[in-house]
């Protein structure tokens, strides 16, 4: 049975698109046929992060209006065979998204895909509401920072009230907390909310912690989801997230400041 997963946060710039790209790639790497959908109509960016921006011909809105079929609009990932990207429209406005239209597209995707990952726009308007409406599971991306935590709390309330599952009184959506841009060193210094702090405030099961890293910018510069940056902490952390999502037990990693060797300490690098 196909599953719909929304990557959401309320606040912008916390790592939703980075997470959508790496999470969807991770599912595909594990052998699941996965589609990742950009719901940020008017401000499309998932195509850049996935590195397929020059291959966009049709977009989500074209499919909704019937100007293109899903098969025409889906872009096959160049790295992974069973991963497809549905870009958002860059020119239309978000009113093009309707509950009925989005449901029709997602139902069609469910026939051939195992996972449908919805990259939500920031905010709590139409695009964000459409991205979460049909979700079975939600990954709430949160930075250990006051405005991000507050907005995550808000979006969690919306997940519980405005999703189709909530409207129809079905089993509630599965919620997962993903903390990104985590700096263990600053947490130790008492300058940053800890994983425990954020968890205690939001009360949602933790699916992973992604350390703050230069790799994320480098990955987006080159249009390759950061999960492909082999043997980096961020890629490992995202692979753990995917494994936990699939029900595997993985201890949390990268929560302690990196230990510096004697030489590093001596030379202060």
């Amino acid at each position: 049975m196909a599953k719909v997963v929304v990557i959401t946060s309320g606040k912008g710039g916390v790592g939703k698109t980075t997470t959508s790209a790496s999470f969807a790639s991770g599912l595909a790497m594990r052998g699941y046929k996965t589609a990742v959908l950009d719901f940020d109509v008017g401000l499309r960016n998932l195509d850049l992060i996935m590195g397929c921006e020059r291959r966009v011909v049709y977009d989500f809105v074209n499919v909704l209006t019937g100007e293109a079929t899903l098969t025409q609009a889906l872009i096959k990932d160049k790295r992974l065979d069973n991963l497809y990207v549905l870009p958002a429209s860059q020119t239309r406005d978000k009113d093009a998204l309707t509950k009925e239209g989005v449901e029709r597209v997602i139902n069609e995707l469910k026939e051939t895909f195992d996972y449908i990952v919805c990259d939500s726009p920031a905010g709590i308007e139409k695009g964000a509401l459409m991205a979460l409406y049909l979700a079975d599971e939600a990954i709430v991306v949160t930075n250990p920072e006051v405005s991000s935590v507050r907005d995550s709390d808000r979006i969690l309330g919306i997940l519980q009230a405005k999703s189709k599952r909530a409207e129809e009184g079905l089993e509630p959506m599965g919620e997962h907390l993903l903390i990104t841009r985590y700096s263990p060193k600053r947490v130790t210094l008492g300058e940053m909310l800890s994983v425990e702090d954020v968890q205690e405030i939001l009360r949602v099961p933790l699916i992973g912690v992604i350390p703050e890293s230069e790799q994320v910018l480098q990955a987006s510069n080159s249009g390759s989801p950061v999960i492909h940056a082999d043997s980096t902490d961020v890629a490992e952390a995202y692979r753990d997230v995917v494994a936990r999502f699939l029900g595997e037990e993985r201890p949390m990693r990268f929560l302690q400041p990196e230990k510096r060797g004697i030489l590093q300490r001596l030379f202060g690098t």
Partner: protein, 92 residues
């Protein structure tokens, strides 16, 4: 715990760390903004309205001055009512 921490801070003469300030501020504001999500029962607004009506029968009162707040402390819930009566109310 918070008390012990602030005591330690006080003895050390250091300011509280900004992360603990952030945590306290968030806990306070979110308890207000989204009580339903924090497992608080949804009868609180109705309870507040009815209390207001009862009190208004006896003393003129500003609706803003009736605060109903539910807090979780470990194993028990604390229902906190804070009613500020206007000054100069004569007893009947």
């Amino acid at each position: 715990m918070a008390l012990i921490n602030s005591l330690i801070d006080y003895l050390r003469g250091s300011k509280p760390k900004s992360a603990s300030v952030a945590k306290e501020r968030l806990q306070l504001i979110l308890a207000h903004e989204n009580p339903g999500r924090r497992g608080a029962p949804d009868y609180l607004p109705a309870l507040r309205q009815e209390l207001l009506a009862v009190i208004a029968k006896y003393v003129p009162i500003d609706p803003e001055q009736v605060k109903v707040h539910l807090d979780r402390q470990g194993d028990y819930d604390l229902l906190e009512l804070n009613i500020v009566l206007p000054e100069g109310v004569e007893q009947r």
